[in-house]
Symmetry: C2
């Protein structure tokens, strides 16, 4: 196969005819496939079913410290759950608060609290004329939805293979005290699967923001979500790095077991400096008497410790690895020599990021949909749903069974070809 | 025993001597008893342990509509949980949203959303100079803590045996558009155990508030928490009554299974009109992908239906009834003829409300504490912790075992006598 850009008009028209025929064959199949969201597959959920057995009516639901997990109390989580999740995100158990079932909810509540009560004594954001957030792009649509919901202006920061463009981040936070935060998925990022380099994390920890209440919103969603046993990305732990850099209060770190145990029935947490935790708890004690301790205990009794959790993640990896490899192989085979797109090769996480030729993403997603394959909407990886290049598409290979995934990925590649040929023909 | 007020100074001094001796005897026992918070006892928690068995690793965690409860999704709760909780609070399942583990958290989030985004298109409260809430007193401290946290001015409304003083409520909400809500625990109220009369509920539904975004915050915490099989209070269902009165959008109704299954590991919900639910979901979909569906399913599989839940509540009642009767008997015996206090005789809920002579509550609670019995802090049942009469004390008889409760209640009565004698002597 040749580079599409170098083909003659006649060659392109012939190719288009051929691709049209293939596309119609797919359409005739009446597919209903989904590569749109980062959900575990049923097979992955099955490996956590043992969690349903660890507590039964004969179990002692008492914590190590004597707390009866069945009753009210314990605002910030039971000690053993703090230890497990602290190990999971490489912080001290004293630096953590255990929440309910969703880290997204914790992030929402964090922004909401900052709006109404401010951050560590600073002016509540709702009293300010303007609040801005930096948004590395492409990024996670649900992050952007939170800041959009609160009327926070979002500024795109391009991602590089090392993480966000730190020259731009450093300059913007230093010059504008309306910038109160930056959304980060620092490990196996959504959607590229990029892990921030050591240099990037060090520069983050050494930021000199104009706003005292600037915080790094470090969504460590995929901290232990490796695809390989040895070929793993390493991320410098940000809380310790910020402390070493003299900026101990500059980061909130979020995590959950959503893609470890059960999405929606897991345990979420935030980690931060002691000053931040005091600030958070002032609000948390008004909001709740405590989160679900029985579920915390269930998780601890199932995984036992961080080693148990890591072993469990290996089972996930065994299911996910072939799916990622399948999609990457299809992209390589189908699109490798065409010059009409590029994509990432993550070693963990839940996504592959695909960049089509400029102006093609929406058309590709629409074409896939017409043939029965749902992708994440084009633009979703950008604030306000607006990809200025109309180029990025998030591929989520985790949910469909492998047989369906193969069909979906091949159809996707076909749609990329078809839309690209049409685009190139327009300019001929 | 005679009315204390009619005793001579000499009689009072003699009595005081006698009471002082009794008090010292209690102090010598080194008690550590707790009648402070509305927590179920361990015995009550035991009756729900079967819930730990309804799901195991062989269970099919699929809902009736095919939803896999183990995965992401379903913003407003699984259908079968909606049905169960709707039956519990006497609304249609379409009028309900299932939340996480805590109705307090739902109430907090409701106020927080109103601050940042307003209610059904009205101005966000954080943009207003002044927001006020009506607070029937005595009432629930955690309600008042939420409104205080958000800087909302709280106005005391006296409770009567029929519910809040409705003349005052009607007048205030009609004349002041800064009044945006009223906190209500309409059935077996905290702390009096009063159930609002039919007339009171009808007047609530027919309020003519000046503020379009005025809402009744109807915390139906003890809807099925009866002490007796037949001698039960009945409360008119407020959502239907508001609809009949032409005010369908005027109420949010909150509930949870905290004192049915496990506090902190139950399921909470809000019920409201369709318009309100649309408004709430606009925010909820930004805040979370969904709450814990596995726990929702666990509750449904355990109780099966509302009849199963009501049977379960009978088991709670069997444990709670003797505790309430014990405390009431002790109060009758010890204080019945003294004229130094009055108390409620609830048929359900978690509390007994005690009104001491004016200016005595703090001293009574302090005296009990010095002898090892912790009561809810005096004043806690009032906004800002300020009981203008220093009279009300909340008694929580549910948590201690019955043997401890007997000692605690007797000591409490003794402290009431002692402080009252001292008070009367001051004026002689």
């Amino acid at each position: 196969m040749a580079l599409y850009q170098e083909m003659s008009k006649e060659e392109l028209l012939a190719l288009k005819n051929e691709l049209d025929i293939q596309y119609k064959e797919y359409q005739a199949k009446g597919l209903t496939l989904d590569m749109s969201r980062g959900k575990p597959s049923a097979e992955q959920l099955d490996i956590s079913m043992g969690m349903m057995d660890v507590l039964n009516s004969n179990s002692d639901l008492t914590c190590e410290d004597g707390t009866d997990c069945r009753n009210y109390g314990v605002l910030d989580g039971i000690s053993e759950a703090k230890e497990l999740l602290a190990d999971m995100i490489e912080v001290h158990p004293d630096n953590i608060i255990i929440y309910g079932n969703s880290s997204l909810n914790v992030m929402y509540d964090t922004i909401s609290r900052s709006m109404t009560h401010g951050v560590m004594g600073n002016t509540p954001w709702c009293k300010l004329d303007k609040v801005k957030f930096l948004c590395p792009v492409p990024g996670y649509d649900r992050h952007f939805a939170i800041t959009e919901y609160f009327g926070i202006e979002m500024i795109n920061v391009p991602m590089t293979p090392e993480g966000p463009d730190m020259d731009m981040v450093e300059r913007l936070v230093a010059e504008d005290d309306a910038i109160k935060g930056i959304w980060c998925v620092p490990k196996y990022s959504n959607p590229q699967g990029i892990t921030y380099s050591d240099e990037t994390v060090r520069r983050f920890a050494r930021l000199k923001p104009a706003a005292k209440d600037f915080r790094i919103y470090w969504d460590n969603a995929y901290g232990v979500h490796h695809l390989y046993d040895h070929d793993q990305d390493y991320l410098i732990e940000i809380i310790a790095e910020c402390k070493r850099a003299g900026n101990p209060d500059m980061v909130y770190k979020f995590c959950s077991t959503s893609k470890i145990s059960f999405p929606g029935s897991g345990v979420a947490a935030v980690a931060a400096s002691p000053n931040n935790l005091v600030d958070i708890k002032k609000q948390l004690k008004i909001q709740t008497i405590g989160h679900d301790k029985v579920n915390q205990l269930r998780h601890v009794r199932f995984y036992k410790d961080i080693h148990g959790m890591i072993e469990h993640m290996r089972l996930h990896a065994n299911i996910l690895r072939p799916k990622f490899e399948l999609v990457l192989n299809i992209l390589d085979q189908e699109l490798g020599d065409c010059g009409i797109g590029s994509w990432t090769r993550p070693k963990g996480g839940y996504f592959i990021s695909f960049d089509a030729m400029e102006g093609c993403a929406k058309a590709i997603v629409a074409k896939a949909k017409k043939a029965g394959v749902v992708m994440t909407p084009a633009g979703a990886t950008y604030p306000y749903g607006k990809d200025p290049m109309d180029s990025n598409i998030r591929i989520a290979p985790t949910y469909p069974p492998i047989s369906e995934l193969e069909v979906a990925a091949k159809l996707f590649a076909l749609c990329v070809k078809l839309v690209s040929v049409e685009k190139i023909l327009e300019s001929k």
